[in-house]
């Protein structure tokens, strides 16, 4: 029997840090006490279970008992060993947590609301953070990725340019900061001989590209320096995906040849699965070929002024910082500017971390989302803090009794924190589950253009973040009730029945509601500004008629179509074929297509005008067109004529300009007066024969840029790529897709058709990122709104209960129901108005955060800033209305009698 109690004491009494014999002695004595209590209860008629329970409850607080014994045994408590103190504190915290959990189990409704509120906030935060983690924080999957830098060029006129080949060679020779500099250029090629001809994404790289990244091939080898030279052998390295899906994982891949762009290339190696990493420049690439061989075949690339798609990647030498490398490269490009003023006078190196280059654009949006979701979490915390405050007031008396019985201040603090910690812990766990669920939905929710979002998941970093978040929330929630401890006198509490709150408690709750309102206004205003921007953007006329237009790209491989003549011949025949298809109203071609993400810009001069200052040469967007392009796209003619069949290579050089160009180049002249003037482009004087309306070619939102159209037949530049546009006579243009592909195949069966869309799809794609961002922000703002509404409802309901007696007295003295309603509503709405005012002030500071997402809408947009607080006040009115109506139904007699 005594063994049971001795065991029981050993289980419950924390270690005392005394001599073992003494501890044993004390344990035996306490066990005997319990045994005696049990026996006594039994002799008084309690059954065995009840008697045992009574004894088990005999010492309600083992931690306190241990403390008292230790104090008695070693009167100088300050000499307690820290380990013992820690153990005691842990034991005390443990027993407070157990108490708090038991309390929450009793107040189930309160617990469920609190945990769910926090779970929503924490879960959403964890999900967004895992996006940030996957996209921004995860290092690239290469050896020592922080050493990898990406380099482009920049000039006053073109902020971002690709690198010219001769510049790359000189950088490589002259820099002192990099172990290696590799050059990279995307290249898509037509694969034939494996099913129907297909366009496959690939890249051309210098031989040191793979060693520089620190990635070895899975099979075979990468390029030898002897292969990466002009006139080198035709070789190719494949991705794991290419090898598996197109070669069926053929083990005898070595030495096989592939027909790429009509050239037989020998396979020398296969890269491992997972290479290249998710967001890399060549993340979609399925094969790599040597870049130097290509440069050898393309004399134009050896022109220092030609910036044709090359990106330079470098690995810093050990111990060289990015900023030191920046200085070094500035020196190198400065020397080149001095040596080659004609091409390099104004151009400089533009260097950034490789990861930065890849995710820089997305990271802003993600941090913005994280900030928004953080606001929601803050609101959730404020709500839970409010709940806890209400609860703390109702358990005030209990705490006062504990204090009177000698509970220390620390102990009371612990008690106040314990419930917050329980809610935070449970909320955190539920939140993690919610985050997992949200991540499963992420492919639907996340913008399609987000790099690396495929690697989402709850890794250690996300879980750690969530745990930290839960701890922070626990503290935030528990802080308000814990602070209240100091404000409440024990005596006051015991005296007045313990359920009338000190006024400070109400003030704190009101402050919390005002804060919630302010945060909700900020979020709503952000979402509202984005709605306004989107509406403005959708209202923008891109300048062409998107309805009923089908478009696709033809890219002719150099090997099959090595000369301009053969390329143009192909397009002539293709245009003719497409024109003969039934249901086609007009056919034209253009490069680059508006809103396609491609752009082409060149400097020009006006013939007969004084020459501009160096570095001040104007530039315009250039497009080559053929056929009935303007008619097919519904671009109105303002003056002169369109380009036509007669504008061939042998005819006098002509151009059509848009009205923005007409104004920029010829200074406010009317469209008609521009006809016949000449501009010089690429050394050729061209006569302007027509002026057309402006088209937003790069993006809907951008500032209008001047544009100049050339007949494809007269273009001196590469004419191997063209987007066909076909205007359907009626109905869905996508119905023309299959006949169009058949038409192209009839001209050349080996020529694939890519990027087949309706113009309306392309236009919507340009807005889809904004739309998704707005959707996410909208959901968060809605959540904030609901939470804030619940918050104000809770406080007002509580206030009404507190003031029942006062309201009863007022009504007994003749106050009308309307007056009582006004009293309660007024108090609630005043609170909401204060919060809303603060929120509006904060919202006007949103421009820095939201800048990239706003269009034609200032953060101080009056409509938004008026509508949002009004909406919130409406919600607050509903939140106050229910308790206010309850107040009017107070029976004065009952209210007064209750006292």
């Amino acid at each position: 029997m005594s063994d049971y109690w001795l065991e029981y004491v050993h289980c419950h009494l924390p270690r005392l840090g005394l001599a073992p014999e003494r501890e044993q002695e004390i344990a035996v004595e306490l066990a005997q006490q319990l045994e005696q209590v049990e026996r006594e209860a039994a002799t008084r008629g309690a059954n065995a279970a009840v008697a045992r329970q009574r004894a088990e409850e005999h010492f309600p607080d083992w931690a306190a008992l241990a403390r008292a014994i230790v104090a008695a045994e070693a009167p100088l408590a300050a000499r307690l060993p820290w380990r013992l103190r820690l153990a005691l504190a842990a034991a005390a915290a443990g027993s407070e947590l157990r108490l708090a959990l038991r309390g929450l189990r009793r107040a189930r409704g309160f617990a469920v609301v609190g945990v769910l509120t926090l779970a929503l906030g924490i879960g959403a935060c964890a999900a967004v953070f895992s996006l940030v983690n996957a996209v921004v924080l995860q290092p690239l999957p290469y050896r020592q990725p922080q050493q990898l830098m990406a380099m482009l060029e920049t000039s006053r006129q073109f902020p971002v340019m690709s690198v010219s080949w001769p510049d790359y060679l000189d950088w490589q020779r002259d820099n002192r900061s990099f172990q290696q500099l590799a050059a990279f250029r995307g290249s898509d090629m037509v694969l034939t001989g494996h099913g129907p001809a297909a366009m496959v994404i690939g890249a051309r790289v210098t031989a040191n590209y793979f060693p520089m990244l620190g990635v070895a091939p899975e099979r075979g080898r990468t390029f030898l320096p002897s292969e990466d030279r002009a006139g080198g052998p035709a070789v190719v390295v494949l991705s794991d995906k290419f090898w598996r899906s197109r070669l069926g994982g053929d083990p005898s891949w070595r030495g096989r040849t592939l027909d790429l762009d009509g050239e037989a290339r020998t396979v020398v190696g296969v890269m491992p699965a997972g290479f290249p990493g998710g967001a890399a420049l060549d993340s979609q690439a399925e094969f790599w070929t040597p870049l130097r061989a290509f440069v050898g075949e393309q004399p134009s690339l050896q022109n220092r002024g030609r910036h044709a798609g090359i990106v330079v990647l470098g690995r810093l030498r050990p111990g060289v910082s990015a900023s030191a490398a920046q200085t070094d490269m500035a020196r190198v490009s400065g020397a080149l500017a001095a040596a080659y003023p004609a091409t390099n006078a104004d151009s400089r190196v533009r260097m950034q971390g490789y990861l930065d280059l890849l995710v820089g654009d997305s990271s802003g949006a993600l941090w913005l989302l994280l900030a928004a979701v953080g606001l929601v979490l803050l609101i959730a915390c404020a709500n839970v803090a409010n709940l806890l405050l209400a609860r703390a007031l109702s358990t005030q008396r209990e705490r006062a009794v504990r204090a009177a019985l000698g509970a220390t201040r620390g102990r009371l603090w612990l008690q106040a924190l314990a419930e917050g910690v329980c809610l935070g812990g449970l909320g955190g766990m539920a939140g993690l589950g919610l985050a997992e669920l949200l991540l499963r939905l992420a492919p639907v929710l996340a913008p399609a253009t987000l790099p690396r979002a495929g690697q989402l998941g709850l890794d250690a970093r996300v879980v750690g973040f969530t745990v930290a978040l839960a701890v922070l929330c626990s503290l935030l929630c528990a802080l308000a009730p814990a602070l209240r401890l100091g404000a409440v006198g024990i005596a006051a509490c015991l005296k007045d029945g313990g359920d009338s709150p000190a006024p400070g408690g109400i003030r704190m709750r009101q402050a919390l509601v005002a804060i919630e309102m302010a945060l909700a206004v900020v979020l709503l205003a952000g979402a509202g500004l984005m709605v306004r921007s989107l509406a403005r953007l959708q209202g923008i006329q891109p300048g062409f008629h998107a309805q009923g237009v089908l478009t696709f790209i033809i890219g002719l491989p150099d090997s099959q179509y090595p000369t301009r003549e053969r390329q143009l011949a192909f397009f002539r025949r293709a245009e003719e074929k497409l024109h003969q298809l039934p249901g086609v109203a007009a056919v034209g071609g253009v490069f680059p297509l508006p809103l396609s993400g491609n752009d082409w810009e060149a400097p020009y001069t006006v013939v007969g005008a004084p020459p501009p200052a160096p570095g001040q040469e104007p530039s315009a967007d250039i497009a080559t067109v053929r056929g009935d392009y303007f008619a097919a796209m519904g671009i109105p003619l303002e003056a002169g004529r369109r380009l036509g069949m007669d504008d061939t290579g042998s005819a006098p050089p002509v151009a059509v300009v848009d009205i923005v160009f007409a104004q920029q180049a010829f200074g406010g002249a009317t469209p008609a007066s521009v006809i016949g003037r000449q501009v010089k482009l690429d050394g050729v004087n061209r006569t302007v024969v027509g002026v057309v309306a402006h088209v937003q070619d790069r993006s809907l939102a951008g500032a209008p840029r001047p544009e100049l159209y050339l007949p494809q037949e007269q273009s001196k530049l590469n004419v191997a790529a063209l987007s066909f546009v076909m205007q359907a006579a009626a109905g869905n243009p996508l119905l023309l897709a299959a006949p169009a592909e058949a038409g192209i195949a009839a001209v050349d069966a080996g020529q694939p058709v890519t990027d087949l869309f309706s113009m309306e799809q392309l236009r919507a794609r340009g807005l889809s990122d904004r739309r998704r961002m707005l959707g996410l922000l909208g959901v968060l703002a809605l959540l904030a709104l609901v939470l804030a509404g619940v918050g104000i409802y809770g406080v007002m309901a509580f206030l009404v209960v507190q003031r029942t007696r006062e309201i009863g007295v007022r009504m007994a003295l003749g106050a009308s129901r309307g007056r009582v309603l006004g009293l309660v509503m007024g108090q609630g709405l005043r609170l909401a108005a204060i919060g809303a005012a603060i929120g509006v002030l904060l919202a006007t500071r949103l421009d820095r955060l939201l800048g990239a997402y706003l269009f034609g809408t200032a953060p101080s947009d009056p409509l938004t800033l008026a509508a949002v607080p009004a909406l919130l006040l409406g919600i607050a009115a509903v939140g106050c209305g229910v308790p206010a109506r309850r107040a009017t139904r107070v029976d004065p007699l009952a209210a007064l009698r209750a006292e």
Partner: protein, 106 residues
């Protein structure tokens, strides 16, 4: 006038006649005071340990026929002295209180 805690002087008084174990002390305290003094075990044992440390009481394990080994506490000489002093103080205190609080009952 120095006045020690009520629990301390009560425990010393109860040990004056003979040695007792902890459970017995708690029972006696409740019986003699008619329930007015309820010294809970959670306070009693630490108090006993403190008194023992100060040398006022002495605990000893005793085995009686038919019972298990128990720890009995008895007054030491120093304990008797302390009890006498505290009694003196309490007597004076109670007389003073009586004169002030209950002037018509004396």
């Amino acid at each position: 006038m120095e006045l020690k805690g009520t629990a301390e002087v009560a425990v010393l008084s109860l040990l004056e006649a003979r040695a007792r174990h902890g459970y017995e002390l708690a029972q006696l305290m409740e019986e003699r005071s008619g329930g007015a003094l309820d010294l809970h075990a959670a306070s009693l044992y630490p108090l006993l340990y403190r008194l023992e440390r100060r040398g006022l009481v002495e605990g000893r394990w005793v085995e009686r026929v038919g019972e298990r080994r128990r720890r009995y506490y008895k007054l030491t000489a120093a304990g008797r002295k302390a009890l006498a002093q505290q009694r003196q103080s309490w007597r004076a205190f109670l007389a003073g209180m009586r004169a002030v609080v209950l002037p018509h009952e004396g």
